[in-house]
């Protein structure tokens, strides 16, 4: 899967490394901005309050 991705990327090896880094940063940013907050909202429910307020 990742090997196939590596083959799909164009250019010499340093260009591919930069492209991979850009992809990784983009994925991490998307996770931190949208995916993880969404998951967190599902996992934690009102952990700091008493009662079900």
């Amino acid at each position: 899967m990742y090997a196939a991705l590596w083959h799909v990327l164009p250019g010499p090896i340093w260009v591919r490394i930069i492209l991979v880094l850009i992809l990784v940063v983009a994925v991490l940013a998307a996770l931190a901005t949208w995916v993880y907050p969404w998951i967190d909202g599902i996992l934690n429910s009102q952990e700091a309050t008493v009662g079900g307020a």
């Binding site: 996770l31 700091a48 309050t49």
Partner: protein, 272 residues
């Protein structure tokens, strides 16, 4: 690494290996997906405990600085109309020690920030907004962080001013709640003034124990006499099994125009 084909001889020797490494098998894909999934779970933990916590703590702190500074600016921008209208307003020069009964503000709309909490025991830079309500829109907000239990009293009011905040993650506004020591100052600043509470005691309760929010904590049928602040958070750290409840009692009150209490003044000056 991708095998590079530099010449005819190389092609002959390298071609079989390239064909093998490029082959996609179901097991291979499944393995890579599993590795990816485990990495994502670990990243989630790191995000929750460190990244999200730090980012949110900073932005909550900045937001609290802003509203605190706004109140102070607005207060000095509108000096009391000196001789004419309001002789009851205490003037700033001969500061009386007792400012009378604290001003009790009206209950604000949900998720509206109406106070800033300062607890020197939590760190000199510690300050967070308190907003109305204890929903996710307040506790998980990157601008708020501390929620005021709807239906409990307001700062300075006789009864129980009860607030909640996360112990960890989402800015962890109550991260050090277990470090409070008898007599520690808990300052609440509002648009009206400064309310100085003194930490009294802590208890650990089940998450269902709403009596801690009563106007006389744990005595719902009691008649309130004291002005209490109640901080609630989860316990133990990183768990939601119990709640840690810290109580303070109002010691004094002073209007914004009188300036911040001595211990708080440098903290407020530093946050601008």
């Amino acid at each position: 690494m991708c095998p590079q084909a530099d010449g005819p001889v190389e092609i002959v020797t390298k071609r079989p290996r390239r064909a093998k490494s490029g082959r996609v098998t179901a097991v291979g894909v499944a393995g890579e997906l599993l590795i990816t999934a485990s990495a994502l779970v670990l990243l989630f933990l790191g995000w929750q405990l460190w990244w999200n916590d730090m980012i949110m703590a900073n932005s909550q702190s900045d937001a609290a600085s802003e509203i605190s500074q706004d109140w102070i600016d607005q207060d000095t921008a509108t000096p009391e109309p000196v001789p004419t209208v309001d002789p009851a307003e205490p003037s700033t020069t001969p500061v009386p020690v007792d400012f009378g009964a604290p001003i009790v503000a009206a209950v604000p709309a949900n998720a509206k920030a109406f106070a800033v909490l300062y607890v020197p025991r939590f760190g000199a830079e510690y300050h967070r907004s308190i907003a109305e309500g204890t929903g996710h829109d307040v506790l998980n907000s990157n601008r708020l962080g501390i929620g005021h239990y709807a239906g409990t009293q307001m700062p300075g009011e006789v009864g129980n001013f009860a607030v909640a905040a996360h112990r960890s993650a989402f800015g962890g506004a109550m991260h050090l709640i277990n470090e409070l020591q008898l007599g520690d100052a808990i300052y609440v600043q509002t648009a009206d003034g400064y309310y100085t509470y003194r930490y009294r005691d802590t208890e650990y309760v089940a998450p269902s124990q709403v009596q801690v929010l009563a106007s006389v904590p744990n005595k719902p049928e009691g008649t309130a006499v004291d002005r209490i602040i109640t901080l609630t958070s989860c316990n133990p750290l990183l768990s939601t099994a119990e709640r840690i409840i810290a109580y303070g009692v109002l010691e004094s009150w002073q209007p914004l125009s009188a300036g911040a209490p001595a211990e708080l003044a440098p903290i407020i000056a530093a946050q601008g």
